[in-house]
Structure formats: structure tokens, C-alpha cells
């Protein structure tokens, strides 16, 4: 016969197991409400987020037009990027380096899809060319700003190419 003490003991064991499993698999992450509210108020609709250590790169929609923006997350200040948002650019995808100094992006320009790397320190805009023929769609840059992985479409197939960024020592 099982007595009341044993029932309570079993219940305690089951409860502690449930608690342990819950702790392992659904840890709660804290939403940064202040920052998120600031982002919505300042940038509106945001596409293609790319996080560096202290920077956030993104495409923000100004009056129906996508623009490249870089935000310093510590100061909540949008950084000036002279020459990156040309009137003929329609950016599609972007990725930033860990220190936020390099921004790689794919843009539509003059009915063509092109790939560029922008260096914040020098304000220079460098075009890059894929060694394979195809239309670039998405990209990812490593933290050092030395390597790009580019998704592109060729003859209806989606492929990925790796491209070294020139000028990296």
C-alpha cells in the first residue's frame, strides 16, 4: 500500500524533474524594450538586421525607399555613412563586420544587381565581382570583414560562393 508520505515524495520528484527540464530548454531571454521602441520610432520598418559587437546594420524604410543604416547600440546614434545611399541604389541585403567598419551589401542599380563593400573609416565604396555568373541575392560577412559568403541564382538554381574581400591584411 502506498501511503500519503510516498505520494507527496513522488509528486516532489516529478515536479523537480519538470522544473529541471524547463530550466534546460526554455530559458528566457530579456527583450530590450527601450531599444526596440527607439528603433521603431526612429527607423520604422526594418529589414535585413546584421549585428556587430556594438553596432546594428539594417535596411530601413524611408517613405517607401530602403536605405542602409548603421546604429551604435551603446549611444543609440545613427552613424553617418556618406556615399552609401546613392539615389540610384535599391539595396536588397547587407551584412556588417564585428566592429561595424565594413558594410557589404547587394543592391539593384541601373537594372543590374551588384555587390559592394563600404568602409566606414575611409568612406570608400568598392565594387566586388563574383567569380561565378549569377544574380546575387543574400550575403554574410565574417567578423573581420575579410570574407563574404554570397547566395546567388544561376539558371534557376540557388548556389553559394565564397569571396575574399581585397585589401584585407
Amino acid at each position: 500500500m502506498i501511503n500519503l508520505k510516498q505520494i507527496i515524495y513522488f509528486k516532489c520528484v516529478i515536479l523537480s524533474f519538470t522544473f529541471l527540464l524547463h530550466g534546460c530548454y526554455s530559458l528566457s531571454f530579456r527583450q530590450l524594450y527601450g531599444l526596440n521602441s527607439f528603433l521603431y520610432k526612429s527607423f520604422g520598418s526594418i529589414d535585413q538586421p546584421s549585428l556587430g559587437v556594438d553596432f546594428l546594420g539594417m535596411l530601413s524604410n524611408y517613405n517607401g525607399r530602403e536605405k542602409i543604416a548603421l546604429l551604435d547600440l551603446k549611444t543609440r546614434r545613427a552613424l553617418s555613412l556618406p556615399g552609401i545611399n546613392r539615389f540610384d541604389f535599391r539595396p536588397i541585403s547587407l551584412s556588417i563586420s564585428a566592429d561595424g567598419n565594413k558594410i557589404a551589401f547587394i543592391t539593384e542599380v541601373s537594372d543590374q544587381i551588384k555587390l559592394f563593400v563600404y568602409t566606414k573609416k575611409t568612406g570608400s565604396l568598392q565594387p566586388l565581382y563574383l567569380s561565378s555568373k549569377g544574380i546575387p541575392q543574400k550575403l554574410s560577412m565574417d567578423g573581420l570583414g575579410s570574407l563574404l559568403a554570397v547566395e546567388f541564382v544561376r539558371e534557376g538554381r540557388t548556389l553559394v560562393d565564397l569571396v575574399k574581400i581585397p585589401g584585407y591584411l
Binding site: 528566457s28 530590450l32 526596440n36 529589414d47 538586421p49 561565378s132 554574410s140 548556389l159
Partner: protein, 169 residues
């Protein structure tokens, strides 16, 4: 006769070598077929890609130097996957997955062999995510009523930082 043929051979091979060594603006590092949505680790040593596995888009992690596929313990049951993102050393892999019809953000800690599910508010549909190189922050682009908003989560109370000095390979 033999001398003239020999001279012609040497001359043509010199010409061939000089022609092929020019015009290499960006060396292609490798070529990966039938793969999409690339995400490089911060150190540029690993790549996460979406591949087609049994008709379902699934995340695959690769060591770029060896080409070896690295094991992921928890993610296969949350297919289809999209928008992978890696921390600096590739210790953490975040991806959008599915639980039934519901989209969710999942994060695998490869060092501790543990998985974290991120509970996001009901009604929000995650579109793209970005994990910061040191795994302190996670950005989630979510769609709600045809509008894309960005939500940034703080992971610092829940996860150990991914070091940039090669603690994990």
C-alpha cells in the same frame, strides 16, 4: 627542325602562363552547390547553410578549411529551417525553425550540447535573425500585420559569451 619545335613549345608555354596569371581581382575560395542562406562565423572558419534534406530546408554547419560537416544535436526536429546565424567561433547557432505550424527561434549551444527555444510574443512571425558575434544579443525581424519590426533580445544573463580568442573549435 626539332630545335624550332622546341623553341615554339617554350615560347607558347611562356605566353600561356603570362596570360593566365593576370585578371584575378577576387580569388574564389570555394564553390558550394545547391545551398542557400549562408551565414559565416565571426572568425570566418565555419559556415551555416540551408540545404534540402528529405525535401525540407535544413541547416547544415561546415568547417570551411576541412569541408567537414559538423554535427548539430537538437535542430533536426524543428525543420524547415531558415535564416541561420553563427557566433564568433560557431559555438552558438541560431536559426528559425518550426514547431508544428508555428515558427520559432532556436539556439543550439554546441559546446554544452544544449538547446534554447526563444518564446516570442504570439502573433509575431520571425522572418530573419542575427546573432551578435559574442552572443550577447539576438536581433529578430518579425512581421506583424504586414509590417516588419525589429526586436533585440539581451542574452547576457542566459548564455556565456563566445570568446573571440578560440576557446572553442
Amino acid at each position: 627542325m626539332i630545335r624550332s619545335r622546341l623553341f615554339f613549345l617554350i615560347f607558347s608555354s611562356i605566353l600561356l602562363v603570362s596570360c593566365t596569371s593576370n585578371n584575378k581581382p577576387i580569388p574564389r575560395t570555394s564553390f558550394l552547390e545547391s545551398q542557400a542562406d549562408p551565414a559565416l562565423s565571426g572568425d570566418g572558419k565555419k559556415i551555416a547553410l540551408i540545404v534540402n534534406r528529405n525535401g525540407k530546408p535544413s541547416v547544415q554547419l561546415k568547417n570551411l578549411k576541412t569541408g567537414k560537416i559538423l554535427s548539430l544535436l537538437h535542430l533536426s526536429k524543428y525543420q524547415p529551417h531558415s535564416s541561420p546565424s553563427l557566433s564568433w567561433n560557431g559555438r552558438y547557432l541560431a536559426v528559425i525553425g518550426h514547431m508544428g505550424k508555428r515558427k520559432m527561434v532556436i539556439l543550439e549551444d554546441r559546446m554544452k550540447r544544449r538547446m534554447h527555444k526563444l518564446s516570442i510574443p504570439q502573433g509575431l512571425i520571425p522572418i530573419r535573425i542575427s546573432l551578435s558575434p559574442h552572443a550577447r544579443k539576438l536581433a529578430i525581424q518579425s512581421r506583424y500585420s504586414d509590417e516588419d519590426k525589429l526586436y533585440i533580445y539581451d542574452l547576457s544573463n542566459t548564455l556565456e559569451a563566445d570568446s573571440s580568442f578560440g576557446l572553442y573549435r
